[in-house]
């Protein structure tokens, strides 16, 4: 019985195995990016970026129909354009990055919805907005895996300046010019992972598998490495459990994954070792030092 519910769907159906591989790839790459988004106080920037991808994906859809390669390429171009424009405007004018991004993403979202409405149906729009991880073919899975690999490699390169810039940006500016390029590379990684998430979860939920696991990790550790490991695990568990939930109950897969992550988040808020509500209400006896 337990085997049939938890493992059976993956041994029996290839599309479920593909979906599982995809969510694990999304977890491995997206969760560390989400961790930095949160620590750099850019969580909502990630959400805004998710909307910014829409016009590019819509142009891909307009040109090629529901072709995920075309939509991915369009999404990447639109996302990079908005990320880089917002980053350049923020760094060269002193305008806060979130304010700069808000302007670009709103324009981008309006353009995207306009483009989809010119050619598509409501069903197409729903697909773009909510994705469908269960419909992923081998080629799309390969794109997701390549994007995840690129993310981890680039993150390894920019990890050190990214950490220093997050905690002490002035110091980094005095010892290196790596801060600006690292920040732009990070924004590019945000876009890549949003496009990845977009295949599986759609534009509206793509950021969920990045930010929710990061929020979960914050309640369990003070250490960045441990937090990243917890976030990846939480994202992978949410992905797996969401797929099982979707398979067994016919809830759409994207929302199922995000709902599972939300449940883990709520449990963490209540019982987390670092700042959890229960621990604050019942802290135990104070320590000697």
């Amino acid at each position: 019985m337990i085997y049939d519910v938890l493992i059976g769907p993956f041994t029996e159906f290839e599309f479920m195995r593909r979906a599982l591989a995809a969510v694990i790839a999304l977890a491995l790459a997206g969760a560390p990016i989400g961790m930095f988004l949160m620590l750099r106080r850019m969580s909502l920037v990630g959400d805004a970026m998710a909307h910014a991808i829409l016009p590019g994906a819509a142009v891909g859809f307009l040109l090629s129909g529901l072709n995920l390669f075309a939509m991915t390429a369009g999404g990447l171009i639109a996302g990079f354009a908005v990320a880089i424009l917002a980053g350049v405007v923020a760094r060269s004018t002193g305008l806060k990055e979130d304010a700069s991004l808000a302007t670009f993403y709103l324009a981008s979202l309006a353009l995207g919805v306009t483009i989809v409405s010119i050619k598509g149906t409501n069903i197409d729009l729903l697909h773009v907005l909510f994705g469908n991880i269960l419909a992923m073919d081998d080629q799309t899975l390969l794109v997701v895996a390549i994007n995840a690999t690129i993310t981890l490699l680039v993150l390894a390169v920019i990890y050190r300046p990214l950490v220093i810039e997050s905690v002490d940006p002035l110091f980094l500016r005095t010892v290196s010019r790596a801060g600006g390029p690292a920040h732009l590379a990070f924004l590019a990684l945000v876009v890549i992972n949003l496009v990845n998430g977009f295949q599986a979860l759609g534009t509206l939920l793509a950021v969920g598998l990045m930010i929710l696991p990061a929020g979960i990790a914050r309640f369990w550790s003070h250490d960045l490495t441990a937090m990243i490991c917890i976030a990846v695990t939480a994202a992978a568990v949410s992905g797996y459990a969401g797929l099982v939930l979707s398979f067994q109950t016919r809830v759409p897969s994207g929302p199922a994954i995000i709902l599972v992550a939300t449940v883990i988040y709520v449990v963490s808020v209540l019982f987390g070792r670092v700042g959890g509500i229960v621990r604050q209400l019942f802290p135990g006896r104070h320590l000697e030092a």
């Binding site: 940006p169 002035l170 250490d223």
Partner: protein, 251 residues
């Protein structure tokens, strides 16, 4: 030989100057206090020296120094102490010149970091997240990082603000040690007694140089009064600056 040479330097933000028309030089190995009221341009000047801020006009020459020969201690408020990083890792960023993007932190480097932490009296704090430190402890951590940078020019922005006398004395001893080693040290300060007793040279700043020279000659009630008066407010409708010499404005 000069460690720093200022040629008609104006520094500021969005065309509004925070420091006008600064000329002069700082000798290698000098120990210089930069004083002035709030808003006088002290931090702006230091940011210009370390290259964070480009001059609106004029230039700052580093006498044969590379940017990486400068260690900068920012005000604590500039640091995000909620970021999950340990004292060890934070101090270790002072090794950037050696490690850059990919350099490993080997046994020798780890020992250097531990020695720097011990030098500022924070033995046993290595694994503590910086967010759990007191203000004085955080200031010690910042000094440990400067120690590790092993720089020839050290720029300290209000390094003794809001810390107790014991910590101040310990950290001041470090500053004296750097001076004894022939490093050039600039510090933005508010404590006149400290300046009088420990800093040989002083620049009195108030959006421009009011006086600059040996502390005993410069730190006079008259100069301090001028500094207080000159610290004019930011004016959105100000005309373009025509003055070549701020001293004429001070008169």
């Amino acid at each position: 030989m000069a460690a720093l040479h200022f040629h008609n330097v104006t520094l500021g933000y969005d065309r509004h100057p925070a420091v006008h028309h600064l000329n002069g030089e700082i000798a290698q190995g000098a120990l210089v206090a930069v004083i002035g009221p709030n808003g006088a341009g002290k931090s702006t000047l230091l940011r210009g020296i370390v290259g964070i801020l480009k001059p609106l006009d004029g230039s700052i020459h580093l006498g044969g120094l590379d940017r990486r020969d400068i260690a900068y201690l920012p005000q604590s408020a500039e640091i995000d102490r909620s970021f999950p990083i340990s004292v060890f890792d934070f101090v270790g960023t002072g090794l950037w010149r050696a490690t850059s993007l990919f350099g490993g932190v080997g046994k020798a480097a780890r020992e250097k970091i531990l020695r720097a932490i011990a030098s500022v009296g924070l033995n046993g704090f290595e694994n503590r997240p910086i967010g759990t430190l007191s203000g004085g402890q955080m200031q010690r951590v910042l000094f440990a990082r400067v120690l590790l940078q092993d720089a020839r020019l050290i720029v300290l922005d209000e390094p003794f603000n809001a810390i107790d006398s014991k910590t101040t004395a310990d950290l001041l001893a470090l500053v004296q040690r750097w001076h004894g080693e022939g490093r050039t040290v600039l510090a933005a300060l508010h404590d006149m007694e400290m300046v009088r007793n420990h800093f040989a040279e002083t620049l009195v700043l108030a959006r421009g140089p009011v006086a600059w020279g040996p502390t005993a000659e410069v730190l006079t009630p008259e100069n301090l009064l001028v500094a207080m008066r000159m610290c004019e407010a930011f004016d959105d409708s100000a005309a373009a600056c025509a003055a070549d010499d701020i001293s004429s404005r001070a008169a």
